[in-house]
């Protein structure tokens, strides 16, 4: 396959995959809407850690944007990609902190002290984190490739794909966060 064709093909694969993931979360969030309109729904206040995680995941995107700029200029963007990786790890840590804050509030995933609202909150954030882990893997791979100077001014598809996916995770999280903030 020539390079141009490869570029468009892989990008399309990614876009369709992301559409698919979007529908997965649309399923979950519409379940919340259906359920929340029934009786016995209780609101939960979101722990502040989720605000922090929102900030770092966006920061991760910013570093990827910079790496793209750098590789276009013909330099090696490995350091910036590494920073995105760090952001992703911190994001994951904040999610765990958020969950333990929920536990401290007495909002559990299952059993006594759980409610549909709290269970949904855990499931949705957990499902998102799984996708972030996928993103981290791809960031890591791009990082090692970049360290080994596999990218050039002409060919930086891997970086592009990774950043599209990371921006997607980013926007997805903002949607989910806003959704959870207002509905749950």
């Amino acid at each position: 396959m020539d390079l141009n064709l490869k570029n468009t093909t892989y990008k399309q694969l990614l876009w369709i995959g992301m559409a698919s993931i979007t529908l997965f979360f649309a399923g979950l969030t519409s379940a919340v809407i259906v359920r929340s309109s029934e009786s016995g729904w209780q609101d939960i206040s979101m722990p502040r850690y989720f605000w922090y995680s929102t900030f770092v995941i966006i920061l991760g995107s910013a570093f990827l944007i910079m790496s793209k700029k750098i590789v276009r200029r013909g330099k090696n963007p490995a350091d910036y990609i590494f920073l995105t990786f760090v952001c992703g790890v911190i994001f994951a840590i904040f999610q765990f902190k958020g969950w333990s804050a929920l536990v401290d509030q007495g909002k559990f995933f299952v059993g006594e002290g759980s409610s549909p609202a709290s269970s949904f909150l855990y499931v949705i954030t957990f499902a998102h984190l799984i996708h972030v882990i996928g993103g981290l893997i791809s960031v890591f791979i791009t990082y090692t490739k970049s360290v080994n100077s596999k990218y050039s001014k002409e060919n930086y598809l891997g970086i592009e794909l990774t950043s599209i996916y990371w921006h997607f995770l980013d926007i997805l999280w903002i949607y989910l966060f806003a959704f959870l903030l207002y509905i749950i």
């Binding site: 399309q12 995959g17 379940a31």
Partner: protein
């Protein structure tokens, strides 16, 4: 890409990256599962026509445990019904049908050497294979396979202690389905990008054969709807294994109140049918596409209303996302919302009618060649009409309330989906067999296969409408448990009789299929006189499909009996003559 490289048995037949081989893997697996699923239906039909009677075959197949003294165990009855539905809908008519024809036809008809990613393609089959193994394993666990129906409604599917089949069997079902979903997502991704990017020179989207359009749209439908089933299953898994209460509330089992509060089983129905309805079109659209090709080739006429065909495929696909509520009219749905779903459902009748009209118009005054493929294609048009009409009855919420969950529904969806799609699949196999194996299938056996299938299939499903109108519920173990249904026994016996006949005649098809692979007469390069690209490839099947350059496309796919030409078909590769209009 090289045409020759050293191939071992493993790399050629098992871990193949070649789309034609992967298509055959899907086909053979699908056929195998078809036999399993059909056998199951014959077993439970025996119980339905002769409740509580002893049959040696039941014991022979199911053993002392599930058919003590030859009488079908009630739990096994539910398990068989569930597995039959699951296998036929997902394994045969989704993966078997789309997996076969998308893989086989897409590269050949658009003029590509293979799929965009042979590797993803292989993965797609292997996930499907793993799913098959897990599903079949569940037949042999102590508590039996899943038993909550192919729609796996909670609470039955969510409480492992509810019935035997809700235990390990349901777990395995969910695992199998997850693998299955991964397989179809991988497949779908590949089909979409292949059609978008790898078309040969001159093959614009509007020159694509209709089956390409159908498979393209099906792939989009799958990619958008299966994830929702995945999210529904995820919540179900949490309810089952971790004790969350997404779908469960206020349940008492054997005098003991469960801790679940606040869940809603209706929620599951919403999520399930948001996939479930598009899924029925995922099954149907490839058949619509195949039938378009077969009817046009064998009428020696261009397909009538090509553009209308494409637009109606799109309209059906779009509408299929906004009608799911018609499966839930009796869930206490707000009547106003019910009428909205009635409205959207009835809208589907319009594009469906357009398609039927165009098929009939294509046949009209054609020089029809009644090949077995053509007969099945015409059979498809028949069942699509019959089943579509009852769909209009069901779509009306006021009428549906009376027949919901009765045999009327079973009759409806078997005819419109089950029969139509399986006819489409048969039509496809008979039609493209020469391309797949370089041999012809036996025509006489094909005719017998068609006519016996056609008659017995109507014999099975047509009378079901009367059962349903008389109020007979579906999925009940015994039709004689209630005196009011005793008068219906005759009808049930007729149905079982036809089911057995219809089942037996499939043996003929399978025989014909395998016999022809080895001993069939050799096929010529283009035995049906068809215009499309796949028939320009050499008979011996090679990697990369065309030995030299990929041909360029110069015209659309339906130039049959075009005035001003010597032959009654003009291949897509033939340049337009001076002054010739495209169509």
């Amino acid at each position: 890409m090289s045409d020759h490289h050293n191939e071992t048995f493993l790399s050629k037949y098992i871990f193949s990256l070649d789309h034609k081989m992967i298509a055959k893997q899907f086909l053979i697996t699908g056929m195998f599962m078809g036999v399993v699923g059909m056998l199951m239906s014959i077993l439970f039909r025996l119980q339905l026509s002769n409740p509580g009677e002893s049959f040696a075959v039941l014991e022979w197949f199911l053993g002392e445990k599930w058919a003590p003294d030859g009488v079908l165990d009630p739990n096994m009855y539910l398990a068989l019904v569930t597995m039959h539905g699951t296998i036929l809908i997902f394994w045969v008519l989704t993966a078997g049908l789309t997996g076969t024809f998308a893989n086989f036809l897409i590269p050949l008809q658009i003029g590509a050497r293979d799929m965009a990613s042979g590797f993803i393609n292989m993965l797609s089959y292997w996930f499907f294979f793993a799913a098959t193994i897990v599903l079949l394993t569940s037949l042999f666990v102590e508590t039996g396979p899943a038993s909550a129906g192919w729609t796996i409604y909670p609470p039955l599917s969510a409480l492992p202690q509810a019935i035997p089949g809700s235990g390990l069997g349901q777990d395995l079902w969910l695992i199998a389905m997850t693998l299955f979903i991964v397989s179809s997502l991988l497949g779908g991704l590949n089909y979409i990008v292949t059609i978008l990017n790898l078309r040969t020179k001159g093959m614009s989207m509007t020159r694509l054969p209709l089956v390409m359009w159908a498979l393209f749209i099906v792939a989009i439908l799958g990619v958008l709807s299966f994830p929702v089933l995945l999210s529904a299953s995820l919540l179900l898994v949490f309810d089952r294994t971790f004790g969350t209460s997404f779908y469960l509330s206020d349940i008492v089992i054997a005098g003991e109140a469960l801790h679940h509060t606040g869940g809603s089983p209706i929620l599951f129905e919403h999520l399930f049918w948001f996939l479930g309805h598009p899924e029925v079109y995922i099954i149907l659209l490839p058949a619509l596409g195949i039938v378009s090709e077969v009817i046009s080739v064998n009428s020696r006429k261009p397909i009538f209303g090509y553009k209308a065909m494409v637009i109606s495929l799109m309209a059906i696909a779009f509408l299929s996302f906004i009608v799911w509520g018609h499966h839930m009219f009796i869930t206490g749905m707000d009547p106003f919302l019910g009428s909205v779903f009635t409205f959207t459902t009835l809208l589907i009748a319009i594009p469906s009618a357009v398609k039927v009209f165009n098929y009939l118009a294509t046949l009209w005054r054609g020089s029809i060649r009644f090949t077995p493929a053509m007969l099945f294609a015409i059979g498809f048009v028949s069942t699509f009409i019959t089943g579509g009409l009852t769909g209009i009855v069901l779509g009306d919420s006021a009428l549906d309330i009376n027949v919901h969950d009765t045999y009327f529904v079973v009759g409806h969806f078997h005819i419109v989906m089950g029969l139509s799609a399986i006819y489409g699949m048969f039509a496809g196999v008979y039609h493209w067999f020469p391309k797949m194996y370089g041999k012809m299938m036996n025509k006489k056996l094909g005719y017998i296969h068609f006519w016996v299938t056609f008659i017995s299939a109507y014999g099975v499903f047509f009378p079901m409408h009367f059962l349903g109108l008389a109020g007979l519920p579906r999925r009940y173990y015994s039709n004689t448990a209630f005196p009011m249904f005793e008068g219906l026994t005759n009808i049930n016996e007729i149905i079982t009789f036809f089911a057995i006949v219809g089942g037996i005649v499939q043996v003929l098809f399978i025989f014909n299929f395998f016999y022809s692979i080895f001993y069939g007469t050799k096929a010529s390069k283009n035995p049906w006189g068809s215009t499309t690209l796949e028939w320009t490839t050499p008979i011996e099947r090679i990697h990369g499909n065309w030995p030299g350059e990929i041909p360029t496309v110069r015209r659309w796919a339906y130039d049959y009996s075009k005035p001003g030409h010597d032959t009654d078909f003009v291949p897509q590769t033939e340049p337009l003559k001076e002054g010739e209009e495209e169509h």
